[in-house]
């Protein structure tokens, strides 16, 4: 099913007379320095950070669903295009997708928050996917290389295992292989 391309024209409106920024008709957006926001998020509690991430990701998922209808039926390219477009409108970086076997991995390049903001970025994508698909995925920071971060999309149970493996020093390739070993070759035709 073909999907319309992502059209960001007039998505962001600067109302200079009222001094307001609108995003897709939603008022009261604020342009804030990323460093100041990263410090503010870092000083907040874990729960506060997740709430803040949901506040960012849930509107993003709603807009994604409004554009694609049911994102689960959309192609990978369409989802990447629209989800990446919405993420870019927030200034959170460039999104791409990798498939490792049966594993879904999102790749974000140029995140403004850097390494300290990876958890915030993962939580934001979590909220967006949950709002758009109705599922409850978990995004785990799988790898970090300079300006690129990989976020593995798994279940909550698998997420705990992956975090434990990564904290133990396992490389992200080993983590992916272990995931496929534990759950068996389901994709085998």
């Amino acid at each position: 099913m073909p999907h319309p391309p992502f059209d960001p024209s007039r998505a962001v409106t600067f109302d200079l007379a009222k001094g307001q920024v609108h995003l897709d008709g939603a008022p009261h957006r604020v342009l804030v320095p990323s460093e100041a926001l990263a410090k503010l998020v870092a000083s907040a509690s874990a729960e506060t950070r997740r709430e803040f991430a949901r506040a960012l990701g849930e509107p993003l998922g709603r807009r994604l669903a409004s554009r694609l209808g049911d994102p689960k039926t959309a192609t990978l390219q369409a989802v990447v295009e629209h989800l990446g477009g919405e993420l870019a409108l927030l200034g959170l970086g460039a999104l791409s997708l990798e498939r490792w076997g049966r594993a879904l991995v999102f790749v974000v390049d140029g995140s403004p928050f850097g390494k300290e903001g990876d958890e915030l970025l993962a939580a934001t994508l979590e909220a967006a996917l949950a709002e758009a698909t109705g599922r409850g995925p978990r995004c785990v920071v799988l790898d970090r290389t300079e300006a690129r971060v990989r976020l593995l999309v798994v279940s909550e149970t698998s997420a705990e295992k992956v975090r434990a493996w990564l904290e133990a020093g396992t490389s992200f390739g080993d983590v992916l292989a272990r995931l496929h070993e534990v759950n068996g070759p389901r994709g085998e035709a």
């Binding site: 960001p8 879904l104 996917l129 698909t133 279940s155 390739g173 292989a177 759950n183 994709g187």
Partner: protein
């Protein structure tokens, strides 16, 4: 005080009262001021060659009652007008003239006595305000009983060179004709309004002229302007303050405040200000509509192309109609102001600007996003996996290669399939 002196004093007092009654409803101060203006005019005419006449606004008599009162106290009309010299040997002609004068005085005295009898309750305090001896009194001979009329008569002897007619003219006359004669000549007499305006506007030229002859030449047209000047009631009223700042650039910043004050203080006169705004609008409209005829005169293809668009056609048609109706629409400011607005909105340049803005915004916003999303297509992922597997350490590389080899047959077509598979891991 002799009987003659008392009689003269009484006569003067009675004359003043009669003049006051005749000038009603004007106040006594105004009457005195008018008489003073007449005397000042005569004095100025006599001494015009000696010294310049002081510039006194002609409306000062009505607009500045306090000033006129002060001047009236300083000068007495009778003192300036009547100049009588004693002469021991009057001629027969002069004696006849004097008898005529005496008769007039007698008749005046009789009327005054009648007026006094009817106005017995009036305040006679004014008779004590001038204790000085009047020149007429000095010129008068002692009162004698006339043999013919059998009435007391005072004889005045004039010098041989004196003109009896002039003396008669200078004698106090009834108040009403004096006022009417003085009000009209009082307009050009001070020569205040027109010279002030003319000199202030040409102040630089006057300063550059060194000779008095040229100054006199300048004064001549000023006199003409004075003669052609409108009556004082039209020149002097508060319409002058706006004129003065125009000649003095320093006072120009005060204009907006004056205008604002006028707008707040005189809301009951909106007729004049809208008329001015209408004139401004008309001028702007005419200026702006000037290019329209030029468009009509353009070559045929251009003119047809412009006419094909409705806004351009309206912009071309309206100025012509407006120019024809401008003069007749001054009484309807609302309609006249509405026309220029529609003319400005329907101009072609406004549409051109809108098109240009849209043409700039769309490509700049759309292209970067599309360029960012295209480099990451999903079909390239298997190759990335292979490339990344090459970079992995040897131990991990074998494991991942084995896993990938087992799921090579998995090829999701939708995002939902991949999401479900990843969540099942």
């Amino acid at each position: 005080m002799s009987a003659n002196q008392r009689k003269v004093a009484i006569l003067k007092t009675l004359l003043e009262r009669v003049q006051q009654r005749a000038a009603a409803p004007r106040t006594a101060a105004k009457v005195a001021a008018v008489a003073l203006a007449a005397s000042a005019t005569a004095e100025a005419a006599v001494h015009a060659d000696d010294e310049p006449t002081p510039l006194v606004p002609s409306s000062a008599l009505s607009s500045r009652p306090s000033d006129s009162l002060q001047l009236a106290e300083e000068l007495t009309p009778s003192e300036e007008i009547v100049v009588v010299e004693l002469s021991p040997t009057p001629s027969p002609v002069e004696v006849d003239e004097l008898e005529v004068v005496e008769d007039e005085l007698d008749s005046e005295a009789a009327r005054i006595e009648e007026a006094l009898s009817s106005d017995a309750d009036d305040d006679p305090s004014t008779s004590s305000e001038r204790p000085q001896v009047h020149p007429l009194e000095a010129a008068m001979a002692p009162m004698e009983l006339d043999a013919i009329s059998d009435r007391p008569t005072a004889r005045i002897t004039l010098p041989p060179e004196a003109d009896p007619a002039a003396v008669l003219d200078e004698l106090p006359k009834p108040a009403v004709p004096v006022i009417e004669e003085d009000v009209e000549p009082s307009v050009p007499q001070p020569s205040a309004p027109a010279p002030e305006i003319t000199i202030s506007s040409d102040a630089a030229e006057v300063a550059l002229i060194p000779d008095e002859d040229e100054l006199i030449e300048l004064d001549e047209p000023l006199d003409e302007e004075v003669e052609e000047a409108p009556p004082a009631s039209q020149v002097q009223p508060p319409t002058f303050p706006p004129v003065e700042p125009a000649s003095e650039p320093v006072a120009a910043p005060e204009l907006p405040r004056d205008l604002t004050t006028l707008q707040f203080d005189e809301p009951a006169e909106p007729v004049a200000e809208p008329a001015l705004e209408l004139e401004e609008v008309i001028e702007l409209e005419v200026e702006e509509s000037a290019p329209a005829p030029a468009v009509e005169e353009a070559p045929a293809p251009v003119a047809e192309a412009l006419r094909a668009e409705e806004p351009a056609e309206a912009a071309l048609a309206e100025p012509v109609a407006l120019e024809d109706e401008l003069e007749g629409l001054e009484d309807e400011p609302v309609a006249a102001q509405a026309a220029p607005v529609t003319t400005e909105e329907e101009r072609v340049p406004a549409q051109v600007e809108l098109v240009a803005i849209e043409a700039v915004q769309v490509p700049t916003l759309a292209e970067p996003v599309v360029a960012e999303e295209k480099p990451e297509p999903t079909p390239e992922e298997p190759r990335r996996l292979e490339a990344e597997l090459v970079q992995r350490p040897a131990a991990a590389e074998a494991e991942v290669a084995a896993v990938v080899g087992k799921v090579e047959s998995f090829a999701p077509t939708t995002f939902g399939e991949l999401l479900d598979a990843s969540l099942e891991l």
